[in-house]
Symmetry: C2
């Protein structure tokens, strides 16, 4: 693979509300190309899907109750920070409940982010006739590294993991690193043009390897089963 | 920020050996532009710096001894997989010791990846007269997600963490997510054009926000001190 990849922000997206079609909002603002990977932040997916709850931001007990409600297991807690396993299988801060950018409310993670990605992908493909992929992304911390990065919560039309087992390096020796989480790398690349403060909730990654564009699932491929996990 | 970002592979890099100038090898193959971020995999940095040791790949005890030698603390061990803290402060598999792509030997992580990045950056800037940034990247797993992604081990000429504290979102409300590990996102973006099997060890990220280009350090900004860490 020796081609360049381009990361293009979709600018001018409006505030999204329950029932809005994210596919329509995207297509009103940009011209997609064959095999584009469209990365959409989970925040606007949650809003479009009506995953909003009332909670008084000043009420610490109410905030904690909401986080616990969205968790199937709490791994660590320090003051108001929870690290827990969400209903969707992710391990992240505060069960992914987002209190920012909403006056007196919170956005929950999409109930099934792979399904959310499929719906947006299906709508985009139906309206354009193109082959497309969609990633629903969110911002996660990491246990041993400061700072957050964007990762994929759901995907459609693209493999989540690129499995290089059985392939060899340029010198013909078998590869040691064999399973690359390409949807997470794409989500991080998309964040480079999103700018948290600038409200760019959608970006397009253009020029990725066409072999990656087959049906995939973050839940099936990336979420690590507890039995495999050394840190749970 | 509403500009596109471009990720461009540097193709045709040769096998790198001790004493080679990575800056020269890059400049013989590509024309850099003002404010390019040059991402270099740690593997070729290790080779250029002579961080190579002899070890018989068939000797499991010798491999384990080498991994323990490069570790300051082992967090978990399962069969031949170690998760440990390296001398450089990273927590990763097998202390970053790379047995692949080397016949009967291993490559150790660069001793000081921020310094490695600075040396390459200084050489590139001296030869071109441009303002440039360099990231030294490697491939790490994650505890709760399958698959590996590229992250930054060292950087020069770019902030490792983009601190958005004190900024507001598009609606004027304070941001909840405030510290973005932009060098890790850039390393992941660069990997999209590297293709583990295709021997593209260098990529250029062009068009990033110019405000990110100030002196930074992965060690100082990203490596999480044990006292902050909930999972060590």
């Amino acid at each position: 693979m020796t081609e360049a990849v381009h990361v293009v922000p979709v600018v001018g997206m409006p505030e999204v509300g329950p029932g809005d079609s994210i596919a329509d909002l995207i297509l009103e603002r940009t011209v997609l190309e064959h095999r584009d990977v469209v990365v959409v932040t989970s925040k606007i997916v949650s809003k479009a899907e009506g995953r909003l709850v009332d909670v008084d931001h000043a009420d610490a007990a109410a905030r904690a109750a909401l986080i616990e409600e969205e968790s199937v297991r709490v791994l660590r807690r320090r003051d108001e920070l929870y690290i827990s396993e969400t209903r969707q299988g992710f391990i992240c801060a505060n069960a992914g409940v987002d209190f920012s950018n909403l006056v007196g409310g919170a956005a929950l993670l999409p109930a099934n982010p792979d399904r959310s990605a499929r719906r947006i992908r299906d709508a985009l493909e139906a309206r354009t006739g193109l082959t497309l992929a969609v990633i629903v992304s969110d911002t996660f911390g990491r246990p041993w590294r400061r700072g957050v990065v964007d990762v994929a919560l759901g995907c459609a039309g693209i493999t989540a993991i690129l499995d290089l087992r059985g392939t060899a390096d340029a010198q013909g020796r078998p590869l040691e690193v064999t399973e690359v989480a390409v949807v997470d790398e794409l989500a991080s690349a998309a964040d480079l043009v999103m700018g948290k403060a600038d409200s760019v909730p959608v970006a397009i990654v253009r020029g990725t390897d066409p072999r990656w564009l087959r049906e995939g699932s973050v839940r099936q491929e990336i979420v690590r089963p507890p039995r495999e996990d050394l840190f749970r």
